[in-house]
Symmetry: C2
Subunit: 551 residues, 2 copies
């Protein structure tokens, strides 16, 4: 009998967020295949995807990719990795629909096998039998996984919360978690995103009540922004708009496409005649219009951004507008969102965005919910996932209060190969799992030195110096040519140019005196002297690119 | 009789935060003179200071700078602006001490007149009589101002909260606010920072209680980080450390200097023998040590950062450490702080940082406190300040519920000249007030094009191309020389080089054919063609710097 191996592979900072690998004997399954978004200090990097070196080395073992739900951080890397891995994908209908959208955008759709599985379905992939269990989350059709292996069942919650009054769809199937727990669960992997929050995450129903309050009796035009993928939220907004006799115009491509998928799959239910085209909004009175818009994170060029900064063709914001921001800021976006809100206010709009109202609720379980899952599943071993190290640590403490021994809990890192038998759990070794950067057309080929150069360029710019030198005599032909980009100092001024020429001429002479005539060494010496001088006059350290052009 | 003019001048996004100007007839006083810290999109900018064009034009009218408290955003621009304005500064003793520290660092101390005024003191500056009123804030010796003018009294709260149980010093002098209100206040300028927070900001005493709980019976070494300027907080930590028999070592230059000033002025009271040198910490048992450290914002190279990433000479973090983060994240710093906390956890430390504990309280008044001030001062006119536009808007709504008519409230912008008579308030005109960027030695000389270049450099880097051309025949001497920095594409590969050479040669030939021989036009044409090609192969748009070197 083999040991079971579980390897969290992807996630920027967070552990096991974008991808987790299960391996047993000759079989591997991949749970989720998502992308991350880089911090500001990863200059120019567009996305971050999991490092699949380990999967590449074990390609023949892979039986498929199993998707828990359709958010970018769980599906976004599929278009990047499928061409190489070429394995079938298994997902619930809505997740499958969203994946198809992404593959279509990358022209990969026709070559991919996507199998749709419903909640409650069980299917075999090599040594594994997978069952989809309904959970609540900020996207419809999200599932947890019960993964039956030859040595026992492992439960992976995926992203989840316990919503006792979801607005659309069933509440999380707590009974099934309990049933599995009663039969014995070998290990639990559970979402640690909100482990720092005490209590219970608020139900989506609260948002619904708040919307009703904000629409009731309102005479203004109403503009609501939320995440394009939050189908349930969009459904609510449409329902309340229809209730109060408003037509709905959708603005923003990502939202339009997501709604088209959700409607086609009957995850949304839009009353006949409710939707109108954005071009037609000015033919109706203000109090009969609701505009659903992208831009809840203040994204530049999103529909809401363009409205705020008067760049929108059809929509001009004024005191007859009530703008509702139904989303919370993803860390890092606070400043841009603030700017958009300020601009809306300055145009006269009433903006409703307050953290202290119930305009948005989290999609992740807080402490009491995490305890409920632990109490139902009663796992022998516990692996907190989906969080930064400090969150996994807190989740482990929480599990301890629920009776999971510390020795039975593993705090893994991305790349940790967790080795599990019926009676033991340990980290066996580490495999390659660093994040892979996507920069334009380049996947994974950007190295730290390029990012470091970009950081320096961003801070102080670059000075380019061209020295024409006679190849035979090594004499300077003329004064150097100076160019700069992003460097903040008056290089054009005669005094500074004279000084630079002097530093170069002196360095040059000193090289010749010391018989250093190799251009590489000369370049280095001149550059060192010059950067000292530049720092002295400007307190800045631009990159200096110096070329000795022998003619 | 003249009109009173109030002009909010400085603040990045926030209105009237860093500087406000009062003008009456031939007299001007400046309230505060602080700096802001730039957003991430102001590449390479170190600080932002107020634009003093208006003050420069009215230099002979300026009677002095009046400081409300010693935080950087209220005093930090003094060293930049004093050389030019050369006017006396009026501040409370601790604020004056901190200003002296800053001036000393800039070698400006001997040339500056700093006058120390105590709480309750009144002093005349031209047409104005200024009175310092004690308020609570996250730095000691903070004051509000009652400014008596020939047409009435104006109250400026500065930054404040109402702390009924401050740990050190007196509570805010609510009685004086009430007294002024009863005698009639023409206008109130009030702090809007926390206007979005309902209720009442928690007292500093809560933090004290929490510290006691965390020190009591703790067997580990305790490391606490907080803001260097939060003298009261540091005082509390030292007091609780001494109570539980711990010696305190201070680590971080800014904190050491701030404490030296506070002690010299008797704002701190450190029991004899409590402080030890950081070098001596290893001679004591863990449970007799408390380390006070900078780095509460995760600053690179701060003491805490170096501890977390094992770069600290004297301090090695392990499971015998309890680290307490007694600060909240300033927006934009969340990610770096998370990384430091994670690294501390990974070294085995117990880190106490949770938002939901009482380890930090805000220094600004929440809604109920703002209402108390409005009810005491009962101003005729109201000018919300210290906040982004949306906050001023909310503060205006709050004032309305307290009986200040909308028509008597002014929502100003930086540069708005607010014109006040006994019976009227209006915005008269706008004066120059954009932020001034400080970048190394350059003050105000950085223009948008440099920041735009830096943004492009940060995203995709730069390609430098040198073309040697015979000046007479305009023939290429050889293949171009290519260099790049921060550009992510294999420029070294033979195929790409060949392609670039081809694009250049073709563009070159086409120019000659069209008789375009002027180097500037040729450069533009070649650059345009080349950037098209580079984008096609890389999906990136680096800056292209092309130089035609005629020889």
């Amino acid at each position: 009998m083999s040991n079971l191996k579980i390897i969290p592979l992807g996630g920027l900072g967070e552990i096991g967020k974008n991808m987790t690998v299960f391996e047993y004997g000759r079989d591997i399954i991949i749970i989720d295949c998502g992308m991350g978004f880089p911090d500001d200090d990863l200059y120019g990097v567009d996305y971050v995807i999991p490092d699949i070196t380990y999967l590449r080395q074990n390609k023949e073992k892979i039986r498929g990719i199993v998707i828990t739900h359709g958010h970018e951080d769980h599906i976004g890397a599929i278009p990047f990795l499928l061409p190489e891995l070429d394995v079938p994908v298994f997902a619930t209908p809505l997740s499958a629909g969203i994946i198809e959208l992404r593959l279509e955008e990358s022209d990969l759709l026709t070559n991919t096998q996507i199998f749709t599985k419903k909640v409650g379905d069980k299917f075999k992939l090599g040594a594994f039998e997978i069952e989809f269990i309904n959970v609540n989350h900020s996207i419809a059709d999200a599932v947890a996984l019960a993964i039956k292996t030859p040595i026992g069942t492992v439960v992976h919650t995926g992203d989840f919360k316990i919503d006792l009054t979801p607005v659309k769809g069933e509440m999380i199937d707590l009974a099934r978690f309990g049933e599995l727990g009663n039969r014995g669960v070998l290990a639990l992997l559970s979402d640690s995103t909100n482990v720092e929050k005490p209590g219970h995450t608020i139900s989506e129903l609260k948002v619904s009540e708040k919307f009703d309050e904000l629409f009731k009796g309102c005479k203004k035009r109403i503009i609501v922004t939320t995440f394009a993928s939050n189908i349930q939220r969009i459904q609510q907004i449409i329902r309340v708009a229809a209730k109060y006799g408003r037509k709905v115009a959708v603005n923003g491509r990502s939202m339009e496409r997501m709604m088209a998928v959700a409607c086609a799959l009957e995850y949304m239910d839009i009353p006949e005649g409710t939707l109108i085209d954005i071009k037609d909004i000015n033919s109706l009175p203000k109090d009969q219009i609701c505009i659903l818009s992208t831009g809840s994170q203040g994204e530049r060029m999103s529909a809401l951004y363009r409205m705020a900064f008067s760049e929108h063709k059809q929509i001009k914001i004024d005191y007859n507008d009530r703008v509702i921001i139904s989303a919370s800021a993803i860390p890092g976006n606070e400043t841009t969102i603030s700017k958009v809100i300020d601009a809306l206010f300055q145009n006269g709009a009433e903006v409703i965005y307050d953290k202290h109202t119930d305009l948005h609720v989290s999609g992740h379980a807080s402490q009491e919910e995490l305890k409920i899952i632990l109490s139902l599943v009663k796992p022998k071993f516990f692996i907190p996932v989906h969080g930064e190290y400090r969150m996994l640590y807190k989740h482990a403490l929480l599990a301890k209060t629920m009776g999971v021994e510390s020795t039975n809990t593993i705090l893994a890192d991305n790349g940790s190969v967790i080795d599990i038998t019926k009676n033991s759990i340990k980290i066996e070794k580490l495999v390659k799992a660093g994040p892979v950067y996507v920069d334009g057309e380049n996947v994974g080929e950007i190295d730290t030195s390029i990012i470091n150069d970009r950081r320096k360029l961003a801070q102080n710019g670059i000075i380019v110096i061209l020295l024409n030198v006679y190849s035979e005599t090594k004499e300077l032909v003329s004064d150097p040519d100076l160019f700069s980009k992003g460097f903040n100092c008056e290089l054009e001024s005669v005094e500074i140019k004279d000084e630079i020429n002097r530093v170069i001429a002196e360095s040059f002479a000193s090289c010749k005196k010391r018989k250093i005539l190799n251009p590489i060494s000369m370049t280095e010496i001149i550059k060192t002297n010059l950067s000292g001088f530049i720092y002295k006059i400007s307190r800045q350290s631009p990159i200096i690119l110096l070329h000795i052009n022998e003619i």
